[in-house]
């Protein structure tokens, strides 16, 4: 049995005696008999050797794809080696929340750097230290935008269905009314949006690029939202922000997104990273921790958790959100990734994603999968075919390729990143061609 108890059984007994107990039973003697458990119905503990063996066997039951063309909210990007080397440092891994600033400057400064980088990416004025993921960030942003007479949230139907689900669930809890704005030809239906917004609208949320990969006209969508007095919230792909017009430039009041592409592995869905940024006007409504700069007693530059009057440990039921632990180590991951990539590297990655995805679309079209939309896209696009998606994906799977995400029997959402080589894409297209040719 694995144990992390440093004191031997004799020592434990000795300690018990010293404080006046003859046994553990006596120590727990004040607990009502009726609730005491006889024994746990679990297997005997394993040694470390056995435990890791067991986990390795489970890991081997999964299929690892070397060639991945699936995105839909989780993206396969290159993670620089330095990222793991930094985030594996035990001081960062085993530290608690940096409430004691004097011995947490490393963490606090790394979060301050992260906040800065996320602000640079989005163009917004301030960032928090992270929330759980892009979906909860969207839900929290919606909650931020609510005012006394504005309690209806509008969310574009072109958003990731997982994100919409989470927003719906949060709204079920907090009583915000939710309206999904319909999609038209793979983009937000602007006319429907105009018609829907009114004096009770708190916000309009749109994903950029949207779930289908298409690039939305955020300038105009933002104008429509503001014209109705609603807040404009954008959920952005962070890699695309190296190239696309920023949410700040589009007039967003709040910009959020899924930070997983910034150095986090696919990891079957988590841990990921929700980033949240806001304009100056909305900073005090941001949930979660925020690091600020100050000085210490000797005038030395120092970092602390600040604006804590928003948070649960101070405001309790009046807090802007209940969030306590967030995704700090993942924020550190994003910071290291962005520092390693630099503006040049990130721009390169974004441009590679664009070029690769357009090449993939071309070769797949030649192979028999026609593009569904004719809109500019970043690194994802939808194809339509007569052949069943399942058949196509199965053929790819046999060759160690994870194809695009099947939206239904006829449509597939493909993704290409800087990791996909021309050879890979040619091979995938060849397999598809064979299947479609039949």
């Amino acid at each position: 049995m694995g144990s992390f108890l440093p004191n031997s059984e004799q020592e434990q007994l000795q300690m018990l005696k010293e404080i006046g107990f003859n046994s553990f039973e006596e120590l727990f003697g004040h607990i009502p008999q009726q609730v005491l458990l006889k024994s746990l119905n679990l297997a005997e503990g394993m040694s470390e050797l056995q435990a890791i063996d067991y986990m390795e066997e489970l890991a081997e039951k999964n299929v690892k794809f070397r060639h991945i063309f699936r995105g839909a909210g989780a993206y396969n990007h290159y993670i620089p080696a330095i990222v793991g080397s930094v985030t594996g440092k035990e001081q960062f891994v085993t530290a608690y929340t940096p409430y004691q600033a004097e011995i947490s400057q490393g963490i606090l400064q790394s979060i301050f750097e992260y906040q800065t980088m996320i602000c640079e990416l989005t163009g917004m004025d301030a960032s928090n230290a992270s929330v759980y993921d892009g979906a909860t960030a969207a839900a929290e942003a919606v909650a931020m935008s609510v005012e006394r007479k504005r309690n209806t949230a509008y969310v574009s139907g072109t958003s990731n269905p997982e994100v919409i689900k989470v927003i719906k669930t949060y709204c079920y809890g907090n009583g915000i009314d939710l309206v999904i704005v319909p999609e038209k030809d793979g983009l937000t239906d602007k006319d429907a949006l105009k018609a829907a917004l009114s004096a009770d609208s708190a916000c309009f949320y749109v994903q950029q690029p949207n779930f289908y990969g298409n690039i939305e006209d955020c300038d105009e969508l933002g104008e429509i939202a503001h014209a109705a007095g609603a807040k404009f919230i954008m959920g952005c792909n962070p890699i695309s922000l190296a190239v696309l017009k920023t949410p700040a430039e589009c007039g967003a009041d709040i910009a959020v997104g899924e930070g997983q592409p910034l150095g986090m592995g696919l990891a079957f869905g988590g841990p990921y990273l929700g980033f949240m940024t806001a304009s100056d006007k909305m900073v005090r409504k941001l949930p979660g921790r925020i690091v600020g700069e100050t000085v210490d007693r000797d005038g030395k530059r120092a970092y602390v958790l600040t604006l804590q009057a928003r948070e649960q440990h101070i405001r309790r039921e009046k807090a802007s959100s209940n969030i306590c632990s967030n995704q700090a180590l993942c924020a550190l991951t994003a910071g290291v990734y962005l520092a390693a990539m630099g503006a040049q590297g990130l721009t390169q990655a974004a441009e590679l994603c664009i070029s690769k995805a357009h090449y993939l679309q071309d070769v797949l079209a030649q192979a028999g999968l026609k593009p569904k939309y004719d809109h500019p896209f970043f690194h994802e696009f939808v194809t339509v075919s007569d052949v069943d998606s399942g058949v196509i994906l199965e053929a790819l799977e046999k060759n160690g390729i994870l194809g695009g995400y099947p939206l239904n029997e006829k449509e597939i959402l493909w993704c290409a990143t800087e990791k996909n080589t021309k050879a890979e894409m040619d091979q995938a297209a060849a397999i598809v061609k064979e299947v479609c040719g039949k």
Binding site: L27, E48, P98, Y132, H313
Partner: protein
Amino acid sequence: MKLIFERGKEGQCCTLMPACDVPQVSLPVPKREKKLRLPHVSENELSRHYTELGKQVHGVNDGFYPLGSCTMKYNPKVNEKAASLTGFTNIHPLQPEHTVQGCLNVLKQTQDMLCEITGMDAMTLQPAAGAHGEFTGLLLIKAYHDSRKDTKRTKIIVPDSAHGTNPASATMVGYEIVNIPSASDGCVDIEKLREAVGEDTAGLMLTNPNTVGIFDKNILEITSIVHEAGGLAYYDGANLNAVMGVVRPGDMGFDVIHLNLHKTFSTPHGGGGPGSGPVGCKEFLAEFLPGLQPVEKECGLGLTAPEHTVGSVKAFNGNFLVVVKAMTYILMLGREGIPAAAKNAVLNANYMMNRLKDIYPMAYDTTCMHEFVMCLEKMKHDIDVSAMDVAKALLDYGIHPPTMYFPLIVHEALMIEPTETESRETLDEAIAVFRKIYEDAQQDPQSLHDAPLHTPIRRPDEVRAARKPILRYTFES
């Protein structure tokens, strides 16, 4: 210490991306106008930067970390090994079910083991943290009452000793909070509870042992009172380390619970996450659970949404790699190890308390569970040395301070939770430090006001940070 933006210079960078092997495409869309400014450093400088930052962080791996209510136990390295297996890290969350049988097994087995430990019938691993779990559990309560059209239940009862996340979570689910004052023994005041429950009670949120480290003996009566009034009982699992394998929330009358894998189940805190806050419930609430449940299908495990699911509280399946770490830990401890951990957590706390109670007043003079609270109110009054001062003095000795000023029902509180993974020697050393600080306080109170002296920074000006917020670095234009 320089900020990363103050290092390096234009032109310096890492060489990570390959050249483009396909025709280059430029998008016909509005591009970003403002230049993107990120660090411009070589990999060497980058690596040194973070090494230097690492030297200014104190983790469990650096020393004793008796932070009450956080369970800063040792983080086994084997957990990290398991969570870095590429058979887990490289798996896309939307892969077809037959290609993720290992992941689904992790989810199912962990859920089953946690159900056994907590006495619950069903579990979700989707919530990403304790507070997230609280929010989820409260959603289950809401969904339950809604399903019975029992819409007049608008209130959640919370003792005044509760962690701030409890009322904050309840607010996020549209509930009104009813605070009940604790009795003089720190436990739930049964009479006040009886007065507070009624037809408008949706539920009670409680932790046991409570936030002052005491096991509430009346727990069966408490949950009974809530049930009789038609409400549900919610268990905040933050303090499970005191009782796991010894007592189960399901046997104490709780209907829904959350756990903190990054506390009780040894996954590391990461400086503030990622954690994991699984939510367990009794059978009658299982239909409302969020996310997808791993279930047996003909050819293996698959994922299914519960019939009346509240939806999703996070995309995908929760903080999966954190669950992997917790699973590894539970497998290693097993049937005997789980209660042994709890018993030793309680022993270590009582041991420390006994060795300090002659000089530091304890908030409650009784056997504690895994943590105890010292009340420095008299010290503050007599010699103007506060809980804050003692905490800051500890920093100079390389010991992370206990939790300060929580729970609110104790003035000048310091909450100490040693955990079971500390040796007697470490405890004795810590006790000696606490005793020395007490002596220093008596001899020279000012020295404590000046503390810390030997840390990378001295006490920061928090007022200034809040009054003139500087929340990002500003580049020179």
